[in-house]
Symmetry: C2
Subunit: 489 residues, 2 copies
């Protein structure tokens, strides 16, 4: 059994390992492997959980340690202070500063700025970790520990890449923008980007986000994300909750109106029934279709992972297109109704139904808002002739994001993948929103790309988070190759 596992693991590692064993850059990286692991171990040991006020000093510490390491490998660093955060009334904590670093400032070279973060999600051994989440543990080719994949491991892979390429001469200017509050909503980040637009970011040509997983064991480059238009339908009846004994059969029940409205949104197959909603969806081109063909993605794995037996689509292409490039509608729940276990004979007085539409290019949130609110739900409710009060509001209107894959940084990244892994990169998107990508693009007007080295099963927010040794080391080579390839495009 052990032999078999070994063989499979060797084969898969051979299949994906560097096709150029004599590449001196790769040799340099391979030679420093143990150092890289040691450095990850040191970073993982710092419990930089940004959600826990008692660990804020460790978040400050990780930013300091990261800064020191950047200085050590020859970068220049500015720490941008963000002030204080009011954690709970009266409890103020210092916000960790953002690292703004720079390697090189040659106006003849292109400048690429990488984004990453050094804070982590909460983790406790008792939550079901096999090992101490803050002690890096190597097992079966994986490195277990909180932050190994999200995002300490990815940031370190990048730093080791910069360090390695420097040995051979850095052909690009590299900037780093590394924060410590990503896991709790990137406090203060947007104003900082705005503030640094004409200074730190003024000469930046490309933005690369190093905080993303691949779709499979094959490297992936993320070029788009869906948006999110989140709606509340509020139906208001009596002044207070009523008892179904005393009032059942005598009042127009708000829940009944809400259920009716929610029931008009989509059919059993998930097709959105709101007229016009699909009008602005970008048509699928042959070229785009082509991108889906070679994606490594197995529905069987997805079934095993989720316990879902039948998906809405039976091929990987259809399924991924509906995750990435077609809109969807989900009903999340109802606020104000009975939601406990057991029974309660209440007629809720005011209920708020919550649903969202994952919209895609070129759907405009304000158009979606009009289609949903005034063109559809308000009419549906008027037709129903209920005397209850109804109000629909769009509480989130996050834009989708779609990059131009013809930009030099995409071409360079694809070439780097080919160079390191001898395969064509999976060109992938995210089904959810990626606020940081959209923010960078909107504020700076620069081309953004997500080039991460996380694996698809790293469990970044779960128990037993890991990064595979393969992803960590070959990922370092990927970033290094990207830096070397970029000037050619």
């Amino acid at each position: 059994m052990f032999f078999l596992v070994c063989t499979v693991s060797l084969l898969s590692s051979l299949a994906l390992s560097s096709p150029v064993p004599d590449d001196p850059l790769f040799k340099h990286i391979d030679d420093h492997k143990h150092e890289y692991i040691q450095r990850l171990k040191e970073m993982v040991a710092i419990e930089s959980d940004s959600s826990d006020p008692s660990k804020r000093d460790q978040v400050l510490q990780i930013m300091q340690v990261t800064k020191d390491y950047i200085l050590q490998i020859g970068g220049k660093v500015e720490m941008a202070e963000l002030g204080e955060q009011e954690f709970s009334p009266g409890v103020k904590l210092p916000l960790p500063p953002v690292i703004l670093a720079e390697f090189g400032n040659d106006t003849n070279k292109p400048t690429v700025c990488f984004y990453g973060h050094m804070d982590v999600q909460p983790a406790k051994k008792v939550d079901g970790w096999k090992t101490d989440p803050y002690i890096l543990t190597e097992e079966d080719g994986n490195l277990y520990g909180r932050g190994t994949s999200d995002d300490k491991g990815q940031v370190l892979a990048l730093l080791h890449a910069v360090e390695s390429v420097k040995e051979f001469g850095l052909p690009v200017n590299v900037k780093l923008f590394i924060e410590g509050m990503e896991e709790v909503g990137s406090n203060g980040l947007e104003p900082l980007v705005e503030k640094k637009k004409d200074t730190f970011f003024s000469n930046v040509d490309y933005i690369v986000v190093t905080d993303t997983p691949w779709l499979s064991t094959k490297p992936g480059i993320t070029y788009g994300a869906r948006g999110n238009c989140y709606f509340f339908i509020e139906v208001d009846g009596a002044r207070r909750d009523l008892h179904s004994g005393g009032f059942g059969g005598t009042v127009y029940e708000p829940m009944s109106d809400l259920i009716y409205l929610l029931g008009t949104l989509a059919d059993v197959e998930g097709k959105i029934l709101i007229p016009g909603i699909y009008d602005d969806v970008l048509p699928l081109t042959e070229e785009e279709k082509e991108l889906y063909k070679d994606l490594v993605f197995d529905l069987k794995d997805l079934k095993r992972d989720t316990g879902v037996e039948t998906f809405l689509h039976s091929t990987k292409e259809e399924l991924l297109m509906h995750r990435w490039r077609f809109p969807s509608l989900s009903i999340h729940g109802i606020e104000g109704a009975f939601s406990g276990s057991g029974t309660k004979t209440v007629i809720p007085a005011k209920v708020i139904g919550k649903f969202s539409i994952r919209q895609v290019p070129k759907m405009n949130p304000s158009v979606v808002e009009k289609q949903v609110v005034s063109d559809y739900l308000e009419n549906k409710f008027a037709e129903r002739k209920s005397p209850n009060k109804m109000k629909v509001s769009m509480v989130i209107g996050a834009q989708p994001w779609l990059a131009n894959m013809g930009e030099p940084q995409y071409l360079a990244a694809r070439k780097a993948v080919k160079r390191v892994f001898n395969v064509d990169a999976d060109m992938i998107r995210a089904g959810g929103t990626i606020p940081i990508a959209k923010d960078f693009e909107d504020i700076l007007g620069k081309s953004v790309m997500l080039l991460g080295v996380g694996g698809p099963d790293d469990a970044p927010h779960g128990q037993n988070e890991k990064i595979s040794m393969h992803n960590y080391i070959e990922g370092t080579k990927l970033y290094a190759s990207f830096l070397q390839e970029l000037p050619s495009f």
Copy 2:
């Protein structure tokens, strides 16, 4: 302004006060008014909150004090022990004993058994009480305090009635069945009734529950209650909750199926859409219709109380019939979906929709169950062709209750109302269930009646619970008259 209020109050009190001022029974009661208030004050001061483990000693105390008072006025008392209650794991508390009392044992006289309870709902001044809930406070003709209406005041009105009638000779045997756990579900009561069926209850002819309000300021006698068939619709999809970004548009969402099913249950006007559901509803007779004509009930008051502007019915007759004698369906809520404030982009994996049907005579819960589950919802779901798993279950199937108003105790109660108030009693029903009435009827096979003296606005489970002085004293006369009138029927 004060004058006006005074006048109205005087007029209404004149209109409803005793038409026989020289009745020696009534004079006796009026003469003891201050004593009765003093006794209520003593009882209210005992914080017999059965839901609070730290107050269990006071529940035990109220049962003891009540027993002592019954002995003092010449009753015989047995305390039926109920053992212990496991409050939380490892915390056992003694259950208060039930008082089984008896006044007279003459086989030539009819025997009436009254049910009441001496425990109360929780109450804290900080919850919004104007006065200390455990200090009886007289204000504007009302007696404020926890338990004044529910049910200490009603039990005391009865005991004072028994005491008063005894002065003139008790023409009936009186039994009392008084518990101390009503507010938390009458622990141990049903087995006790079963156990005492052939002893304490063997010679009982009539059961009267003294724990109910009137519909208005006019005295009411309750002769029926609706039942409750409570259903869970469980829809099961993935093994775990999914993110709407990663899975929206790719899975059959359980919420979508549930919303669809809940939407097929009733129309906007509350009409139940389940075939056959109205088949067994007793037809409305002319005689029954007549009972609704003189009910004192103003929709304006109901609008003011609830904030509802438009009810499903515009006349008091229609509205009350739909509260009391027609079935209704209410959707209470959903377990398992997002129910918090704010936004969450979840696709809930397993959701349980909860609704209930208030069924009426002669609707049988097991027939309703079949109509809802296998004849309707299972078919609707099959037609929808969703691969999710769906299960409907009826978790409560409480029978409706309807008494025969031709029974002597009803005739005696109506005569007593006429004698004390010079009006015809409102013959009323409850929209909710009255488990105690149904239990007594089912176990003992005796005729049950609800004759309470609570007012419609006493707020029995709310802040500032009160009983009006009028209801307390004239209610005592009502019970006293009932005892005197009963043998004539």
